[in-house]
Amino acid sequence: MTVAASPVEPAAVAKRIVHPAARVLIGRHRFQWWEVLPWLAAIGFYFAFPDYLGFGTELLIAILFALSLDLALGYAGIITLGHAAFFGGGAYTVGLLAFHGIWTEPITSLLLAAVAAAVVGFASGLVLLRTQGLTLLMLTLCTTALLGEGANMAHDYTGGFDGLPSLPIAPVFGVFEFNPLYANTQYLYSLAALLVCFLFVRTLVYSPFGQSLTGIRENLLRMHAVGSPVRRRLVICYTISAAIAGIAGGLWAQTNAYVNLSALDLDRAATVLIILILGGHGRLYGAFVGAVAYLALEHLLARIYPTAWQLGLGLLLVMIALFARNGILGLGEVLWRRYLAGRAAS
């Protein structure tokens, strides 16, 4: 059983592998035709609903935020109520730099937001990821609560409850201005950011690193027993996830030209968790589906019947936990498999 990892061209090797299961693995990262649909829909939305671009921007940012959580939760199995800390960290980085006139160029500000959030993610990950399960959940909960309180206390810097209003954001590429009334620049800017981040996450998920994260999620003890440096992988994953959440926060601050404490609070942390579960975690597009479903429902119901919205949301969560653990996409997969099985039988 001596298969040397010889320097043979992978393509040549790939050709001689015929077993269907192996071929699936070899080709899994290839783009499927339907993957272009969400992006076409997003561009279509731009032209079809010019009056709703503000909502559209909010939607894109929610998708990005949920995507960042999916990396940590859906792929590595890190259950956390703490992602709002990174979102808020990114938002306040952008906000503080702009408010005090230090730096207003949007794209580089986003990168700074990512770095700031990554630093927080790395530090907290090193410390917190020593624990698991309920203890980890409690720690993330307390950290979020602590940061929220801290930001409130430092209201001289953070603007407290009222936040930092009217942030000056320079035009993108020096040309495209953020117009507070007509959100076309914001929408396309957010869409571009989402696309770049999504491609990055997608590459990560299909890489050997992503595969090992899945192993960690599926059976942590087994990963130790195959020699995997589990904690290192978790911290790296958590840091990257934090960076992307930071970009989402930075986008939020830029497109709203405003940042306040709601960027960091438990409500935001719980909402992004619900969005991801609703769509289906551990499946790249769960963030898309979940954000669309949740925000659409919220906009329709929450304003008019807030108590009914709360009741409905509660019932939805209970139903999901009991019957549809993998969210909308999970349900879709089950139905699709049943359809295929039905076709095979007939």
Binding site: L128, L134, L137, C142, A145, L146, Q310, L313, A321
Partner: protein, 291 residues
């Protein structure tokens, strides 16, 4: 007031606040330690029970003790129904599903109470014997607070004795310690879970009712104090009655003191301490270390 009097009144205030926290949280500690189930909805049971007790007293003019008993029974009954029908299906599920389920339950409880009773805070009318001040010798203090402290102590003593001396207490302790072995000894785990869950929720109801005067009672109750219940339970150690008692008292006193001297930053201190403690001892002060 002299220093001793000041100190005593702060201590008493903190301990009485901590006692309320304990009475609500003791059920959560036992069920989480016993069933390993993350029941974030525990505060919702406390809220439900509190509403039953307060509304019975205010609207149906039921007596104080009778209202407490009614709250206990009603909440225990509701919890048994929910446990048998729903909770049971999630015992083998992961933490994530349990968290989602119980958060969903919280929302349902909150909305239901808003619809049925209304969003306002419910006033509580204490029975006349418990109002006013009590002369404790070295200081005067609110009668109700002293009453709470005494009740809390009786409860922790009673529950501890029940755990140590009764048959069912031994069964609970054995199951918390090693579930598989307990099962192989023939202990009926399902029945044990249901009984413990009912008792824990009933206790939460009592805590909700007794604490209404101090914590208030409105539909946000379940969420507002959730972090505190969870801190009391994790710091004390899952499954340890004595642990959650000490942790609750500690939390109550800390919170009280901080509100007096550091009104702006108090809660940060508590969160930071909790984080440090859980990092140092993930199993809490009195919890069992995971092997």
């Amino acid at each position: 007031m002299d220093f001793a009097g000041n100190f005593a009144s702060i201590l008493l205030g903190g301990i009485s606040a901590g006692t309320v926290l304990f009475i609500v949280s003791v059920g959560l500690s036992v069920t989480m330690g016993l069933m390993g189930f993350v029941n974030l909805a525990h505060g919702a049971f406390a809220m439900f029970g509190g509403y039953v007790i307060v509304l019975a007293m205010n609207r149906a003019h039921v007596g104080f003790t009778a209202a407490l008993a009614l709250g206990f029974v009603a909440t225990a009954a509701l919890s048994v129904i929910l446990e048998r029908a729903l909770y049971r299906r999630l015992y083998r599920a992961g933490e994530l599903d349990q968290v989602l389920f119980t958060i969903g339950l919280i929302f349902i409880f909150m909305a239901a109470i808003t619809i049925v009773v209304g969003p306002e805070s419910q006033p509580i009318m204490l029975p006349p014997e418990l109002r006013g001040q009590l002369n404790l010798g070295f200081t005067q203090y609110r009668t109700y607070s002293v009453f709470l402290i005494v009740v809390g102590f009786l409860i922790v003593a009673g529950v501890w004795l029940a755990f140590e001396r009764t048959h069912i207490g031994a069964q609970i302790r054995a199951t918390v310690d090693n579930r598989r072995m307990a099962e192989s000894l023939g202990i009926n785990i399902d029945r044990l879970f249901t009984i413990t869950f009912a008792f824990g929720s009933g206790m939460a109801a009592i805590g909700g009712g007794l604490g209404a005067e101090f914590l208030g009672l409105d539909p946000q109750y379940a969420l507002k104090y959730l972090v505190y219940f969870l801190i009391a339970v994790s710091v004390g150690g899952l499954g340890s009655v004595v642990g959650v008692y000490y942790a609750s008292l500690l939390l109550g006193v800390l919170d009280f003191v901080l509100k007096l001297y550091l009104p702006k930053g108090g809660t940060i201190f508590i969160y930071a301490l909790t984080i440090l403690l859980l990092l140092w001892r993930p199993q809490g002060l009195f919890g069992r270390k995971a092997t």
